[in-house]
Amino acid sequence: MSTRRIVPALLVAMLVFAACGDDDTPSEPSADPADVTGDLFAFGFGYETGDQIAQVRIDEFRDAYPDVDVSFSESGFDNQTFLSALASGEPPDVVNLPRSSIGTYIARGVLEPLDECIEQEEIDMDVYYPAGVGQVTVDGTHYAIPEFFNSRVWMINNTVFEEAGIDPATLDLSDWDAIAAANEQLTQMDGGQLNRIGIDPKLPEFLPLWSNSNGAPMLLDEGRTSNLDDPAVIEALEFSNSLHEPAGGRTTFLDFRDTWDFFGAENQFATGELAAMPMEIWYLNVLAEASPDVDLTVRPFMTREGEPITFADGNSWAISTSTDNAAAACAFIATMTSTETWVAAAEARAETRAEEGLANLGVYTGNREADEVIFTEIVDLSEFPAMAEAVEVIREVQDQAVAFPPSPAAAEFEAAWVAAVNAVMTGEAEAAAELQETDEAIQATIDAAVP
């Protein structure tokens, strides 16, 4: 399977995010359930999808608030259908949407400020990872509660590294020269034919991670200032793009990468077609199921100063300003993201995994308190030491996460920087000129979008 065919499988993989848990109930919603009644329509979420983590949490809500009749769109979030839902006679009360696009909706006044809700449900925002909270906060007001927390780490193919005589545990990942040298050593060309990629920089999508590791966020001031022309961003793009060169350039690199069976047993790690790449953490679950025998080292992405860093995203729960049942909406988003609910879902998942005889790698929530319970009391990877080490690394970097702030022109900003990176990757433009030009243009767009 090529990486171009991964989208449906990726969605499925994210839905089956594993977890387990224990009884520990620090943040029980506090509103009197008897006072919370009526209908509630949740957009961007589903009960019938078969996703256990979703179903258990919904069941928890239904048990806690039996007088609320909650229904779901039964599909993931999508701009076009969300617009249609808002324009319909029955607009959504709550919405499950990506944190990366939430700024667009905050700026347009579609989402309800949650100050009252947070107070009513006594939600402690400090239990959520700061990077996640930062993505849903504008001018000190929270507009959503983080749900999942998807970060990035290095995934290193031990077999390939050892063949090349490089120690996967000690390669200095904060030293870009060392990364470039390892890439050359690990890349395998045979008669002009690329047979192995040394290091996949994952461009364009991972430029924010490279850039932050070089000390420069791409977006500043709660998403209102583009920083694409920062020399450190330009340097990050130039360096990460240069990692394509030993593989014969971008086109050869991508053509080869497109042949990978990304979600199958013959994935690039199993076949030795890739030595290392930074990757989102959900992919470990894929590898654990598809090729459990792959010898992998997971290490944190590093700043050039030698500190662990990761870039995070994920979904969040927000209340639509068109809701006519704010009490139920608030109770719902509080329940769906509370520690108790996450733990219940994780426990159910652990039982299922145990019955299936599969490793349970846990579920990475936006709730630090829930993660603590899940990973110290529910997840048991004693029989899977490599996975246990990987989970430990991931947990260590979660608090070092950075993320895009909620820009009022989030979609335009993403389209702009992706286009700029693509232009540089194809050789149509130089990094400095392209990013400077893009920065100027996108700043005007952001300025126009600020309410």
């Binding site: 090529s2 171009r4 991508l254 693509n422």
Partner: protein
């Protein structure tokens, strides 16, 4: 007395019959209107109404998520002139149309003529050629991601076996549009069926007479076949031009499903895709409406030119 009475009765009868005739005609007209009224209502509600509404929106800064909409005059149209992505996407779309329309028509005609010669297996081949047209566009896009893979796709395997160059159809900006043209030529079935239907109506006597006069197969094709099916050719020219200028689904599925990983960059940014992005990703619905009207105007002008020039080369049997 009696004669004049009969004359009056006669005149009166004629008047009544005339009235009946008029009434019948009017009644038929009313029934005709009733029968076509679902279409008329559908057209007014779902086509004409939204079109006029979008024309109004094209002069506003309409954002579906913002309650206030302001009249901005021709600002959206001015912005289009300055927007480099409008130029890029328009060029991509016109490039595609220039190659796709003649390609579809030539290949469609060749295949239709071959099908016209096939005897018993004609039904099977007709089905086989038409099958791509009933395949969902997203599935076609996904299928061609496999076929056009630069490393081990079937297309490059075949080219490689023939000793020909094997370009990167999906990742090299220079070959992305040719790859898309190749994909769309696969769905040539509807054009084939139209030509085949036209070919099957041609009188055999014309060819017999031409053969007796010593006309070669090429002369027969040029002087009999093409003029006789020129109506069908004209029809496919119009519909294929419009469809090419509105290309969206297959390319969006191939290159824009997951925006961040879109390696195609601007090479696959077709006009309707950019319009869609403005409408539903950036919520610039006013600007997107202006873009839609520009496309409508372009299609209108091209179609007008095609219709005007058709008088010189399209032959209708009844004329």
């Amino acid at each position: 007395m009696s004669t004049s009475t009969e004359q009056r009765r006669d005149t009166s009868r004629r008047q009544v019959t005339g009235k009946r005739r008029m009434t019948k005609k009017r009644r038929e007209s009313v029934w005709a209107l009733i029968f076509i009224s679902p279409w008329i209502i559908g057209f007014l509600v779902f086509m004409a109404g939204p079109m006029l509404w979008s024309l109004w929106l094209s002069f506003t800064d309409y954002d579906p998520l913002v309650p206030d909409t302001n009249f901005v005059g021709i600002e959206n149209y001015q912005q289009m002139i300055e927007d480099p992505l409008v130029r890029v996407s328009l060029w991509n779309t016109i490039f595609f149309t220039i190659f796709n329309v003649p390609g579809t028509m030539i290949i469609g005609l060749v295949l239709a003529m071959m099908l016209n010669q096939v005897g018993k297996a004609a039904g099977f081949f007709r089905t086989a050629f038409y099958l791509p047209n009933v395949t969902p566009a997203v599935a076609v896009g996904a299928l061609f991601l496999l076929l056009l893979n630069g490393r081990d796709g079937l297309v490059n395997n075949a080219l490689g076996a023939l000793g020909l160059p094997t370009p990167s159809w999906l990742n090299d900006p220079a070959f992305i549009k040719p790859g898309i043209i190749m994909m769309m030529l696969w769905s040539v079935g509807s054009t084939v069926i139209i030509y085949l239907a036209a070919l099957q109506t041609l009188p055999k006597q014309l060819y017999e007479a031409a053969r007796i006069d010593g006309a070669s197969p090429w002369q027969q094709f040029r002087s009999i076949t093409v003029p006789m099916i020129s109506g069908a050719i004209f029809f496919t020219l119009i519909i294929n031009t419009i469809a090419s200028l509105q290309l969206f689904t297959e390319v969006y599925a191939m290159f824009f499903g997951q925006q961040e990983s879109g390696a195609a960059g601007e090479a696959a940014l077709f006009y309707v895709i950019y319009l869609f992005q403005n409408a539903f990703e950036f919520f610039n619905m006013g600007y997107a409406s202006a873009m839609a009207w520009l496309l409508f105007a372009i299609i209108g002008v091209i179609t007008f030119v095609q219709v005007k020039t058709s008088k010189r080369w399209v032959y209708y049997e009844g004329e």
